[in-house]
């Protein structure tokens, strides 16, 4: 165990998370303009996240009558830390994996399970009615997407015979999981939207709550919260690329390039969903998740299991 190795890993994950969040913000602006049918001007949009951040940073921090100040400060930090751990669990190339642990998908699952805590605290802390409804909504949402998320990741682990991510990537050498387990990636992406409380599953922050859990924040806190959310989006895209799109596998280009390209593809898909799919109603989402998505994810496990047995013969 070398101290230098740890430092290099931490710095590179932090850089990847920050860069990824910036790219995600840029893609969001570009896609929003494209969907709205206004001139896209992608180069102009490169500076837009920075100027937005500068404008928000110049504002004072607001507070409410009697908030829980400590948990309010903790929420964005916790969300960002969990997203960074999730991103660290995704391998960039063979041997290039920051959080190289034997139970990779369990580590990812644990980090993502705690996202519920961060978002709930963000909604609960200001002691304000609309953010609080948002926080409670996210618990309903989180309890509904967590099981399909874990189950499709387990299905991907079946042919690899391992809970580590690198063997899962290697197991896709002949056929990527997106084809081998056709239900896997769609179910994963639906859960990923929930994890990042993004677009159709932005239930805690919906316009119907006038911003919900981020209604009462301003200044640097608002930037940090938005950056942390984008980091989650990047982390789930990277993990999806590794587990379902074959990670670093691909011809000609170096492995890392493939991994980054695949991550970007998923990122664009997830961000595009925000502008094309309407926000779903909370209660109906919960019912649909339990009555449809969870049984489908279990079906996905069986399909994967039968295939793995046949392949092992």
């Amino acid at each position: 165990m070398s101290a230098l190795g740890v430092i290099v890993a931490v710095v590179s994950v932090a850089a990847a998370a920050a860069f990824g969040a910036y790219i995600a913000a840029w893609v969001d602006i570009v896609l929003a303009r494209a969907v709205a049918g206004v001139p896209v001007r992608p180069l102009d949009a490169l500076i837009a996240p920075v100027s937005w951040g500068a404008a928000v940073a110049l504002k004072a921090r607001t507070t409410t009558e009697r908030p829980d100040g400590e948990t309010w400060a903790l929420a964005p930090a916790l969300l960002a830390a969990l997203a960074a751990v999730g991103l660290a669990a995704a391998p960039l190339a063979p041997g290039l994996l920051a959080a190289d642990v034997a139970s990779g998908i369990v580590l990812f699952g644990a980090a993502m399970a705690l996202v519920v805590v961060a978002v709930f605290l963000q909604g609960w802390s200001p002691n304000s009615p609309l953010p609080m409804i948002g926080g409670y909504r996210f618990i309903a949402e989180g309890l509904s997407y967590e099981i399909p998320l874990a189950v499709v990741l387990i299905a991907a682990a079946l042919p690899a015979r391992s809970l580590a991510i690198a063997p899962i990537v290697v197991s896709q050498e002949n056929l990527w999981n997106v084809i081998r387990q056709p239900l896997g990636l769609p179910l994963y992406l639906m859960a990923a939207l929930g994890l990042a409380f993004w677009g159709p599953l932005a239930l805690p922050e919906g316009v119907d709550l006038a911003g919900g859990s981020s209604l009462e924040i301003s200044g640097v806190s608002r930037i940090l919260w938005r950056v942390a959310q984008l980091m989650v989006l990047v982390a789930v895209s990277a993990m999806g690329a590794a587990v379902f799109l074959g990670g670093w596998l691909g011809p000609l280009l170096p492995g890392a390039a493939w991994m980054i390209a695949k991550t970007l593809v998923l990122l664009v898909l997830l961000i595009g969903a925000r502008h094309l799919v309407a926000r779903v109603p909370t209660e109906r989402y919960v019912i649909a998740s339990w009555a449809i998505l969870i049984p489908l994810s279990l079906l996905d496990v069986f399909i994967a299991g039968i295939q793995a047995l046949v392949a092992a013969r």
């Binding site: 165990m1 190795g5 740890v6 890993a9 931490v10 932090a14 998370a17 940073a57 504002k59 004072a60 607001t62 409410t64 400060a73 903790l74 964005p76 930090a77 960002a80 830390a81 960074a84 751990v85 669990a89 920051a98 959080a99 190289d100 642990v101 139970s103 369990v106 609960w124 200001p126 002691n127 009615p129 409670y136 618990i139 309903a140 309890l143 509904s144 099981i147 874990a150 189950v151 682990a157 079946l158 042919p159 015979r161 391992s162 809970l163 006038a210 009462e216 640097v220 940090l224 942390a228 209660e283 919960v286 019912i287 339990w290 009555a291 969870i294 049984p295 279990l298 069986f302 299991g305």
Partner: protein
């Protein structure tokens, strides 16, 4: 162990960085915000009570269902690792296990316990 060390380091470094950025936020005005500025926003009128209350979690039956399914996950992870080695027997076992649990969902759905509004 390297992986564990990196994971812990990333978690705590990111957290510390975000907390530091937040506390480094400059104070624009020396005066504290006024009482009207601190009123929770619902459109311009003040509330009667604190928002924190004995909040009616409408989805409590679902959360109980979740507890049972969370337990199921614990069994599925080790199962995934040994599945191919154990062969057909593992598939049948897991099939029976999951079908039993699906009856739980079916029952809950049929009892309309997933609805709340």
């Amino acid at each position: 162990m390297q992986g564990v060390a990196v994971t812990l380091a990333i978690f705590f470094v990111t957290m510390a960085a975000f907390l530091a950025l937040r506390s480094a936020e400059r104070r624009l005005s020396a005066r504290a915000s006024t009482a009207p500025a601190r009123v929770p926003f619902t459109g311009g009128r003040a509330p009667d009570t604190h928002a924190w209350n004995r909040y009616h979690v409408r989805y409590y039956p679902m959360s109980l269902l979740f507890l049972a399914f969370d337990m199921e996950m614990v069994f599925m992870y080790p199962w995934a690792v040994v599945f191919v080695d154990e062969g057909l027997i593992a598939l049948i076992e897991m099939f029976m296990f999951i079908v039993i649990l699906l009856f739980g969902i079916l029952y809950t759905w049929r009892e309309r316990a997933l609805e709340w509004a």
